[in-house]
């Protein structure tokens, strides 16, 4: 019987396994995970889990019974040592081997580490996995103090909001001049900064940590402007890096991620890559993009399943990210930039509105504040406009690829 092995039991891997069956795949499906847990949802980790409103890992990607019902074999807590793409066999860390006809790499990404003189003394926390979230939750609960968060991206801001809600005094140390610089135009980013400032969070812009000074019980961070900050906890949230060592060692083409075409195919036949680890052509960015979002993992999981089942597939809806901070749900659809014209569309209540970004008659992106109900229509509208536009409108982005974390 044909066998498809999926390496990576996260959002992308877990959904791909089920989507294969749903699309009629009759072969064996083996889902291999490095962590001991069945695929779980990451979005709650930086919010409900830190707040103690949900248990780490309680929100599953698929209900537990789904794997058995769909004859999907789970091999958890089984890190893979290497893949032989010629003989189509992988070797686990413990020496076991497993052959495959098709392989899906859903190896995800890991939190980018930050080192500075004395960083080990600061014992910085990172947030990526269930275990990370559980450790940070225990640290933040039951007491209060000062927390420094290095990085004003999605993770940094979500942790900042959670920590504030738990009564911590929060300082965000951001190298740039605004938060969420890679995803949000400045007018929309300003809304979020205002929200955090209203809740008492301090931002240090253009700031970085030069050194950690040893003190008795607290952590003294010396910043680049020579001011120092005394805190009890340091969290680093400066983005993530794709897990592609296995792919590189197997001879697959990689850049800032495992390179795939618009059908999730890597440079080696019958090996596919999806989710946070994959970098795929993207018409919205006008170049390959590695999108670290829940939505991208879902879409590519569905897509790779259809590709393997020989079904036609496209994946060209506008990118979509969301974040929940305090009482705000913020959704980003498309690719809004500072170069676009922005109009504010008010909603039913003062805290519901949409920042609509456009170039000429074409809507390039939108930022929805507590307006999730507007998303479907806007997304549809943007796709229709993009389909109709003969020349794709290229975003004013100078980096080689977009890396977005949500």
């Amino acid at each position: 019987m044909e066998r498809t092995v999926i390496i990576g039991a996260g959002q992308a891997g877990g959904r791909a396994a089920v989507a294969l069956r749903a699309n009629g795949y009759g072969g064996e499906i083996i889902l291999v995970g490095q962590e001991a847990r069945a695929p779980y949802e990451r979005p709650p980790l930086s919010k409900e889990v830190l707040l103690g409103a949900a248990q780490a890992g309680a929100a599953l990607v698929n209900p537990e019974s789904v794997y058995h019902e769909n004859s999907i074999e789970l091999r958890l807590d089984m890190p893979v040592r290497w893949i032989n793409s010629a003989t189509r066999e992988l070797t686990f860390m413990d020496g076991d081997r497993l052959g495959f006809q098709r392989l899906i790499l859903a190896t995800g990404a890991r939190a980018r580490r930050l080192e500075w003189p004395g960083s080990e003394a600061a014992k910085p926390y990172y947030l990526r996995t269930c275990d990370d979230a559980e450790v940070l939750r225990r640290t933040l609960s039951g007491r209060q103090g000062d927390i420094a968060i290095i990085g004003g991206g999605f993770i940094g801001l979500e942790v900042a909001a959670s920590a504030r809600q738990l009564g911590w005094t929060v300082t965000v140390i951001e190298l740039g001049q605004q938060c969420l610089e890679r995803v949000l135009p400045s007018a929309s980013a300003r809304v979020l900064v205002d929200l955090h400032e209203r809740h008492g969070t301090r931002f240090r812009w253009g700031a970085s940590v030069k050194e950690t000074k040893e003190t008795n019980s607290r952590i003294r961070l010396l910043l680049n402007d020579d001011e120092s900050l005394n805190v009890d906890v340091v969290v680093v949230g400066i983005g993530s890096e794709p897990n592609m060592k296995l792919a590189e060692a197997a001879g697959l083409e990689c850049g800032n991620g495992i390179l795939v075409d618009d059908q999730c195919r890597t440079s080696v036949s019958d090996i596919y890559a999806i989710g946070d680890a994959a970098i795929a052509p993207n018409r919205w960015f006008g170049k390959p993009a590695r999108l670290e979002s829940w939505e991208n993992a879902e879409r590519q999981a569905e897509q790779v399943a259809r590709v393997i089942c020989g079904l036609p597939t496209t994946n060209d809806a506008p990118p979509w990210f969301w974040t929940d901070q305090f009482d705000r749900n913020v959704q980003i659809v498309g690719v809004p930039t500072d170069e676009d014209q922005m109009t504010v569309e008010p909603g039913k209540t003062p805290d519901q509105y949409v920042h609509l970004y456009s170039r000429g008659d074409v809507i390039t992106g939108a930022v929805l504040f507590n307006s999730g109900r507007r998303r479907r229509a806007l997304s549809r509208q943007m796709s229709e406009m993009r389909d109709a536009a003969a020349a794709p409108c290229s975003p004013a982005e100078s980096v080689d690829s977009m890396e977005i974390n949500a």
Binding site: R15, W322, G372, R374, R376
Partner: protein, 106 residues
């Protein structure tokens, strides 16, 4: 109807123009009573994705869309139709007697 096996949900005229009414009855988590093309349904009011009340959402093409993240469910079956919702919500048969709607008591 005085049958103790059924609980009264609401009057049809209680359902607002949005087609959704939040109702609480003993033994059930909060419910959203929905009117779709003249038919009535009772579904779980709490979205299976986040802690949001579906009765504050919108009905379109037989689906209910959550006001929070914008995910959706087919009202008749409870099956998720729009991300980020991926887990079905509970649905319950509704009995209509004249102008009132009832649900089986638990």
């Amino acid at each position: 109807m005085s049958d103790s096996k059924f609980l009264r949900l609401c009057c049809i005229s209680d359902i607002p123009d949005s087609g959704i009414l939040r109702v609480t009855v003993p033994g059930y988590d909060p419910l959203a009573v929905c009117q779709v093309d003249g038919a009535f349904f009772a579904i779980a009011d709490t979205c299976s994705h986040g802690m949001a009340s579906l009765s504050e959402g919108d009905i379109e093409d037989g689906q209910i869309f959550c006001p929070f993240h914008g995910g959706g469910f087919e009202i008749a079956t409870g099956n998720p139709t729009e991300r980020p919702c991926t887990i079905p919500i509970a649905t319950y048969p509704v009995k209509r007697v004249e102008d009132a709607l009832f649900i089986a008591s638990k």
